[in-house]
Amino acid sequence: MKKSFRDFLQDLEKAGEMRRIKKPVDLRDVSALVAQSREATLCETLEEYPGWRLAGGLVATRKRLALAVGSHENEVAMRFEEGLDRPIEPIMVGNAPCQEVVVNGKDVDLSAIPYPLMHVRDGGPYISATCVVSKDPEYGRNVGSYRLMYRTPKETGIDLVSPSDMRFYYQRQLERGKPLEIAVAIGVHPFEMLAASYKAPIDMDEFWVAGGLHGAPVPLVKCKSVDLEVPADAELVLEGELLPIGWSADEGPFGEFSHITGDVKWNPIFRVKCITHRRDPIFYLLQMPWENDWLSAPVTEAAGLRALRNASIKPVAIKAPVGSCGYWTLIASIRKRPGEGKNALLALLSVAEVKLAIVTDDDINIHDPDDLDWALTFRVQANRDVIIVEGARGKHVDPSVRAWELGKGGLPTTAKLGIDATIPEGIPKKFYRRLEYYGRDKVKLEDYL
């Protein structure tokens, strides 16, 4: 039996990682409250939204992410990779908790769901914790995560500027002059969120990946107004279509996962045709930036592991530091054969928009910044061990790619840097022997105290 969003909330509570707020909370205050709580937050009463609750900051630390995934904190990527290696087909169900309440047509009103205002310079209230489902007749179902900015009771903006399978699907529909149907599930287990964040090959259904992570199939239910399927145990679902208007509607700014207030972007509009939810729904506020960054890290790390293995390299450990938002930097230690330091760099730099890759030997603890600095200091010659690749795929939220100079819908490029911090070929290993204290195995401090 797969775990649900509610099961995860219970796990957090049992681990002492959940704080309940019993006083009624105004939606305009909720982000500041979640930011001040060391634990995940559950607001039990929301002003003006009877029957709704709100949970936020659920995976804002690696500890809580590890709790969600069920692994040691440094092994989340390996756990994620296991899920990728054993995908499980979802199953269809007839009745679903996420459809206990159905609101259709003219009754659709996004102001009736707890749409929070999150950051000072945001262009409007945002939904940040989405699992967005779309379909293409040739390539099949896709699941991704895209933010939604409130525009009107029936419309939101959606950030579709970055390259993605759904952007490609939308582009194909746009060329036919047709809308793209989408369904947005909110309040799903972190495994579904992780799978949605993973840049799977276009013909891979991310719900299979989520099933692999759970070790059980994800139950799906048919949507009420669009030809799509969503997780049956979601808390809330928005069904509708992306209008065939291209990248023409203002969206943003938004407090991005890069810790930066983004720019106004030009994006399509999502018109909502139907809202379904549980009778007692819990809205999920994914708190930027940390929650997004901790969710990104294992996805980037798993993609890095895959790239290394596909290049016939043996990785020992991998890390996407949260300082790079778990997205732009990959550090890996490998069991190296001659030349593989450079091969590993090329593999890691092929991952999504990773722009800095560092490779070390397996004697370096890449989770220890001092050990990593030591390798960078004594195993690197800048004229031999550094690779720069220009004109690779970039991401809009990185100000250094100057995305504002592009036209509407334009895609930025970036330069990528690789540093081979493995012992260079031709240098005898004896020059890297670490100092050892004389008598360290025999002398005990307590004997002298």
């Binding site: 305009r28 003006e48 310079r121 525009r151 009107t152």
Partner: protein, 60 residues
């Protein structure tokens, strides 16, 4: 258009505003009512954005 939506439009005619500045000016309004009024303003199709992302009313 509701009185609150009219007020929001007047405030934007007076000068560009961040969305949060509009929210701050009407903290006494219940959130769903504010969202509905904001939807009316957006539907009027008169809004533009300045380089800092502030909303403004385009030349009428």
């Amino acid at each position: 258009m509701s009185p609150l939506a009219e007020t929001l439009l007047e405030e934007l005619r007076a000068g560009p505003r961040q969305f949060a500045e509009l929210v701050d000016a009407h903290r006494d309004v219940k959130w769903p009512a504010f969202l509905k009024a904001w939807g009316e303003v957006r539907s009027a199709d008169v809004l533009g954005r300045d380089e800092d992302g502030r909303y403004l009313v385009k030349a009428e």
